[in-house]
Amino acid sequence: MSIELNDSDCPVILRGVRPHFDKVRNVWLLLAPERALKLDDIGRAILDQVDGKRTFGEITKALADKYDAPVERIAGDARTYLIGLMARRFVEAR
């Protein structure tokens, strides 16, 4: 089975997965069961948009506007990133 994320899908950050600012190490992390994933600026920018309400298409449009970048490129990067999180069961597409 390979994971898909279409424009009409609505990605959600699953319960038990939450961004956390680590004051000791001075980094943003995504905390999940048994895992702490370092969040870089791009990861944070993408996850900031994942509110469980908007579709992937709406999210990439918003990112493209915000960063003044071509939507196809943004969509490619965001899709790869989110599919990675889906494979780890941090995010789900509904």
């Binding site: 994971i3 699953l14 905390l31």
Partner: protein
């Protein structure tokens, strides 16, 4: 000998109690179990969690024994969440009811890790030594699902159940678990008494790897499967705990602070109590925590080996148990002079059989 300055710890294993309604023969608890009257108080635990968060600990794993045997578990979870920790409950499910689970939900519990002793009542109740345990666990799993806690199912695998791995995976799916840990039994603590009863065969380990790989492919995006194979089937040791005292910190029920849950087996080390010395000092400055940090403590063949930064010479407790010297090369490594002996002993135990020796509390 100077050890390099350590990084802050990432995770804490809080062994709240050694009490447990079950008596699994592979329990990793030490043979000398702590009695209830030696356990830390709620306030002592709260103080530990506050210090842990300040030091940079991210995850706290509530463990035991059975952590639900502590009636104040809910207060501990609430406090740990308040100070910013990610809270994980490692439980057999026995001792929890719907009301307690709802209370834990309100306290902000992030995640539940449920252990599985067998794939049906007959097997699970036999392995856990607790009649009715399986049915109760299934009921608890249903409540966990209803509340919506993220769930990891933890299955300890051994000679007697490896052939039923497919059913184990099916149970994880039925329960709606997001993760499944397929963990081959580690022969520390009580498990060391059950080598002949539980040591898996080479054939079983090979088959398990195939089953896990096929399931991972089939269930991508549905179930994450972590597989911990048996040590002696590989040529090199695992980087035990990511290196001694590098990432995790353990608190035993009486407050002893350890770099890993089996560390009390190492003779010659004395462990401070969290009630007697600040956690930060124990982590950075205590002799026990610095004993095997860095590379200066190593002997040959590790000392001149290019893999030492990758596996840190393996497990200190295993070196202690088999080589009688905690600074020796982990005998799992093919470069260890004891490797052949270790493999032969494991193969002999795999071919042998024995009755289960259950874990017992002191009377």
């Amino acid at each position: 000998m100077t050890a390099p300055r350590a990084n802050p710890p990432m995770a804490m294993l809080a062994e709240l109690t050694h009490r447990c309604p079950l008596s699994c023969p592979y329990c990793s608890n030490p043979i000398e179990l702590e009695r209830k009257n030696r356990e830390l108080s709620l306030d002592e635990w709260k103080d530990i969690f506050t210090q842990a968060a300040e030091m940079g600990v991210l995850h706290v794993h509530f463990s035991g024994g059975e952590p639900a045997s502590r009636r104040d578990l809910e207060d501990m979870v609430a406090h740990a969440r308040d100070v910013g920790l990610y809270t994980n409950l490692i439980t057999s499910g026995i001792g929890l009811n719907k009301r307690r689970l709802e209370a834990l939900d309100e306290c902000g519990l992030d995640h539940v890790q449920l252990s599985l002793q067998g794939v049906d009542a007959e097997m699970a109740d036999w392995v856990g030594g607790y009649k009715g345990g399986y049915d109760r666990k299934m009921q608890v799993a249903e409540w966990i699902g209803e509340i919506g806690f993220p769930l990891t199912l933890n299955a300890v695998m051994h000679k007697k159940n490896f052939d039923r791995l497919d059913e184990t995976i099916a149970i994880a799916l039925d329960m709606g678990a997001r993760r499944l840990e397929v963990a081959t039994v580690q022969f520390h603590g009580w498990a060391a008494k059950n080598r002949a009863a539980l040591m898996p065969t080479r054939e079983q380990a090979k088959q398990a790897r195939l089953t896990v790989n096929a399931a991972r492919e089939r269930l991508e995006g549905v179930l994450v499967i972590d597989y911990v194979p048996a040590d002696h089937h590989s040529d090199y040791p695992k980087p035990c705990m990511g290196g001694w005292a590098s990432t995790g910190i353990n608190i035993a029920p009486d407050g002893a602070v350890l770099p890993c849950h089996a560390a009390h087996s190492i003779k010659g080390l004395s462990f401070d109590k969290a009630t007697e010395r600040p956690l930060k000092e124990i982590w950075y400055d205590s002799d026990a925590f610095n004993a095997f940090r860095g590379f200066d403590w190593m002997q040959e063949p590790c000392r001149s080996c290019e893999l030492k930064a990758k596996d840190f010479g393996g497990c200190r407790c295993q070196a202690m148990a088999i080589a009688g010297d905690p600074a020796a090369t982990d005998p799992v490594c093919i470069k260890s002079p004891l490797h052949a002996e270790l493999v032969a002993a494991a193969e002999a135990d795999a071919e042998a059989d024995a009755e289960l020796v259950y874990r017992v509390m002191p009377t």
